[in-house]
């Protein structure tokens, strides 16, 4: 029978609920194998890096190869601590959502290295345009846990005055841009910010994050295209956690070999990085930041990882993927891998790790008690109702003043 005919093709994931997942055939470049070129290399010369996988921590949890950022044990312990705190924070917030204390939550389980390592590789003055699953950026930049929680429970101390869904943080002081529910819009905005910084003569890099699913939005193209045109100092992170709610990454990746490869067509430096390898994410982010700061322009970085938990508190992943898929995912767990690396160096042990977890759990519990003292969504106090009419414009016009009177607040 002839196969020489056009045919409608709908990509499907290899495994569905009930299947026994098996990734033994997944061909991923080994840690340490990728070359680390000069950061000012021409974008099109990064083809091998876009198709390969930059890794530092090998199967024995040793740091190998040219991308090792050679961090001090103190810096690695700090990274580990931020990742553990991010995970414990997420766990606590999920419980609170289940207890009805907040309306909604989104965890970043399994993706903690992507945000924490990036934040630590960048300068605090660099501008972040995140999506909704990079809470580790806030943790690593030292945002007060109480403030994060007050936002999530929309109470009287929520710095967004109860106007946004939980996890849609905004923190200007920490150079963390306001998160939008509209996917991908921040990619081209990050370019505008970077151009503004360059125009003002500031040595500021901007970094933005979207997921694999969002690369299908026009704003993915728009961001890369603008950065390509204006050679803006931007780092575009594509967090490929394999899943966009229920849709596996092939739905948005299509025929491209990798998400990183999409950057090559724009002439941008393009890297695929082991997203569960703290040291690889750190090393690659440093490289991209150096490239941006030296005028080399933007980098597209695919962070290869796995969304280990549900998309959100409104989602049940057992309806579309095998329960065990995350457990056998070949890149493992980012916290466990850095932990084992530090243990191997003699810079960490199980006892200290347990102590760290206990300390972080206590920190989160204490923070929540304090956050709750400023009110909860259900029981208040909230921001004053009249504040609902503020910040639409710099000054409310007559319509807003009248509507506020109509409501009697």
């Amino acid at each position: 029978m002839s196969t020489q005919q056009s045919r409608f093709h709908v990509p499907a994931p290899p495994f569905r609920p009930g299947d026994e997942p098996d990734f033994s055939n997944l061909d991923l470049q080994k840690a340490g194998e990728a070359k680390r070129p000069d950061p000012l290399i021409e974008g099109f010369e990064t083809r091998d890096l876009a198709l390969g996988l930059i890794g530092v921590l090998d199967h024995n949890h040793q740091a190998v190869g040219e991308w090792d950022p050679k961090l001090s044990p103190e810096a690695m312990r700090e990274g580990l601590s931020h990742m553990v705190l991010t995970r414990i924070f997420d766990d606590r917030m999920l419980k609170l959502q289940r207890q009805g204390k907040m309306s909604f939550y989104m965890k970043s389980l399994g993706e903690e290295a992507i945000s924490v390592a990036a934040a630590m590789a960048l300068r605090d003055s660099d501008m972040l345009f995140p999506s909704y699953r990079q809470q580790g950026l806030l943790i690593a930049r030292g945002r007060h846990l109480v403030d994060m929680m007050c936002h999530c429970i929309s109470n009287s101390r929520d710095n967004l005055k109860g106007r946004q869904l939980p996890v849609h943080y905004a923190w200007k002081e920490g150079n963390f841009f306001t998160i939008s529910g509209n996917l991908g819009t921040q990619f081209p905005q990050a370019v505008g910010w970077a151009m503004g910084a360059a125009m003002k003569g500031e040595d500021q890099v901007t970094a933005s994050w979207i997921g694999d699913g969002t690369t299908a939005e026009g704003d993915f193209h728009n961001g890369l295209m603008l950065a390509s045109t204006y050679r803006a100092p931007v780092i575009f992170n594509v967090v490929n956690n394999q899943w966009a709610i229920s849709m596996y990454q092939g739905i948005s990746k299509g025929e491209a070999p990798t998400f990183a490869a999409k950057g090559l067509g724009y002439g941008l430096a393009s890297l695929r990085v082991d997203g569960n390898d703290f040291l690889a994410v750190h090393g690659a982010t440093q490289w991209a930041a150096e490239r941006a700061r030296k005028g080399g322009g933007a980098t597209v970085m695919e962070l290869y990882t796995y969304r280990a938990d549900a998309h959100s508190t409104s989602d049940d992943p057992t309806k579309y993927r095998p329960k065990t898929e995350g457990q056998i995912w070949p890149l493992g767990d980012p916290i466990e891998r850095l932990k084992q690396h530090l243990i191997g160096l003699g810079e960490w042990d199980e006892k200290r790790h347990q102590a760290l977890e206990t300390e972080m759990t206590a920190l989160v519990t204490k923070a929540y008690k304090e956050a709750e003292s400023y009110g909860t969504l259900h029981d208040g106090p909230l921001a004053p109702t009249h504040s609902m009419f503020e910040d639409v414009f710099a000054e409310p016009d007559w319509r807003l003043r009248r509507q506020r009177q109509d409501l009697g607040v």
Binding site: F177, G181, N182, G192, G196, G218, F393
Partner: protein, 337 residues
Amino acid sequence: MPTKNMIQALNSAMDVVLDRDDDVVIFGEDAGYFGGVFGATQGLQKKYGLDRVFDAPINEAAIVAMAIGMSAKGLRPVAEIQFADYIFPGFDQVVSELSRIRYRSAGQFTTPVTIRTPCGGGIRGGQTHSMSPEAFFTHIPGVKVVMPSNPYDAKGLLIASVESDDPVIFFEPKRIYNGPFNGVPDAPLTSWATHPKGEVPDEHYTVPLGKAEIVRAGSELTIVTYGTLVHVAQSAAEKAGIDAEIIDLRTIVPYDMETIAASVNKTGRVIVAHEAPRTSGFGAELIAQIQEECFYALEAPVARITGWDTPYPHAHEWAYFPGQERFIRTMKTVMEA
């Protein structure tokens, strides 16, 4: 005083703001070296340099997003969308981002962006060079919507828009770029040089946002309109011999209800007029508000003169465009009611 057409007035406004504020940047498709397809940015790149006035890729969503990022960083971008008909690829960035960033960040980030875009029909522009999409934008909390009707206002309103800390969608009726238009298709061209509002100072001045102007005082009937139809209404009122008070809104959102209500309460009769299609056009909002505020003063049903609920046609342009005849007919109907 020097006379300018609208293009020259807009060019002068941008020259003034570029000169006064280093944070002002101007960009759009063909807006840099070439100076814009209508010439509005002519000479500005040469005078201020490539990093202040530059060409942008053909991507309206990217143009708006870039302006948002720049403005949040502290610049004052003036972005050009070549035709208002092509603003829709950027609609998500306007609706979901530009308009809400101050609100959703509780004032931490602000977006003082001005988006200039030529609008309106009467130029044989067909479906995609004639639209008046202002009503789509008046329904978005957080953006201001402006449309000048003459060179003096064009410059003053544009400077006020750029200096405003709120985002502004600035619609420019291209039919009247070169001279006022009375709505008669084959009428000889008149130049702004013969119109009092064609006198435009070279220096900085503003026309305040949110303030309408009574361009013709009258006692029998109020006509609320903006853009090209301001001139059509004036000419039609003279021809019909009706003592109409004609209000040029200038700012569509937030509209100047005080001026409208004072006029309607005096005349008792009112027509709202715009080029855009009727259903859910901005006229509907004006009529609803006039009904709420002026019900007991009204002596006739409020009438509206608008484009039809069809896409903007090419061959039948003059049956579509609200010209003098429709104005005169509607004015008579309202006066007789």
